[in-house]
């Protein structure tokens, strides 16, 4: 059985890669994908910790083992879908305004 520490190490490696892509790349689409990579890493850590802390649920209606990490990861996925929809709409709008998807040319507000 794989200990949960390996999952957490993998999760942190993925998070660092996603953050690196967000910082270094100038394509807005790739920056959005890097945010996706980071959110996936966080989801993996949440589910791994949920797996390692199997205890009775503190909720009132559900009496089995606690699912808090998995439920949180579920809501992270929902928020992430909303973020991608709005982000891609902003990318399209940026493309129509400036004709490019480079993030360093998005300085319409800079004086």
């Amino acid at each position: 059985m794989i200990p949960v520490a390996h999952y957490v190490i993998l999760s942190s490696i993925l998070f660092v890669l996603g953050g690196l892509g967000f910082l270094v790349r100038r394509n807005v689409l790739v920056a959005l994908m890097s945010i996706d990579v980071m959110l996936n890493a966080v989801n993996l850590a949440l589910v791994a910790f949920n797996r390692s802390h199997l205890q009775a649920s503190h909720l009132q209606a559900y009496s089995g083992q606690s699912h808090l990490g998995q439920i949180f990861a579920f809501f992270v996925i929902a928020v992430e879908a909303a973020e991608v929809a709005v982000g891609l709409a902003i990318v399209l709008s940026l493309y129509r305004l400036t004709g490019t998807v480079r993030s360093d040319e998005a300085h319409l507000l800079r004086n």
């Binding site: 999952y7 699912h67 929809a85 998807v101």
Partner: protein, 225 residues
């Protein structure tokens, strides 16, 4: 059985890291999207090994079925403009920032891996209930104790859809600014004109500026591409 599980974990982990590297270091955004797809599939496999079956299914449906397809739609819609040229402006600052981030993140990874040795994190995991991670348990929780955030997330998705439509559609009757008009607006604001253009559109903006210099009227329509 344990050897098989270990091999499964390492295969999924290798594919996930390769996918993340593909996202970050691909020049073509389509390859980045394919790397994202690979990462998502391998993370779904890791969810399965963590007894999160329903979450693995949600991951496949929402990410692989919706998010990656949405990315591909936008990349196809933008066409060759989606590929940004590689230039060297600000390369050193980007490399410096990226290496600082990798340094901090790498030390965090080392700290996690050292702290995880010999604690609860490396203890053998006990097998969960048979209902753990299934759709029955999820439904029980989502519709009883987590009902408020569940309904709030539906409101969030609704607002996001309306906002995405409003942002992507733009105002009715608004004309798209051409490159020369943007340059004129920037020069009126005092920004250096044409200094930041590079890559695909450099020849277009140069043509527009030469038109302006020769006294001809600047093209008011976005050139068809």
């Amino acid at each position: 059985m344990t050897g098989l599980g270990t091999a499964y974990f390492y295969a999924c982990a290798l594919l996930a890291v390769l996918g993340a590297l593909g996202v970050v270091f691909s020049k073509n955004p389509i390859r980045s999207a394919m790397g994202l797809l690979m990462l998502i599939l391998s993370v779904a496999g890791l969810f399965l090994s963590l007894h999160a079956q329903f979450l693995a299914a949600v991951q496949l449906i929402v990410y692989a079925g919706a998010v990656v397809i949405l990315f591909l739609f936008v990349i196809m819609l933008l066409g060759p403009t989606a590929i940004t040229s590689r230039d060297h402006a600000g390369l050193w600052s980007r490399a410096f920032g990226g290496s600082l981030f990798v340094l901090a993140g790498g030390s965090a990874i080392v700290a996690v891996s050292r702290a995880g040795v010999g604690g609860r994190a490396t203890a053998a995991l006990t097998a969960p209930d048979s209902a753990f991670g299934g759709i029955g348990a999820f439904g029980d929780i989502l519709f009883s104790d987590a009902i408020v955030p569940f309904e709030l997330s539906s409101a969030l998705l609704m607002v996001a859809v309306v906002g995405a439509v409003a942002v992507a559609r733009g105002r009715q009757g608004e004309r798209t600014l051409s490159k020369s008009e943007l340059d004129m607006a920037r020069s009126a604001l005092g920004a250096p004109e044409g200094a930041t253009h590079s890559g695909v559109f450099s020849h277009e903006s140069a043509g527009a500026q030469s038109l302006q210099a020769s006294g001809a009227s600047a093209p008011t329509e976005e050139p068809a591409r």
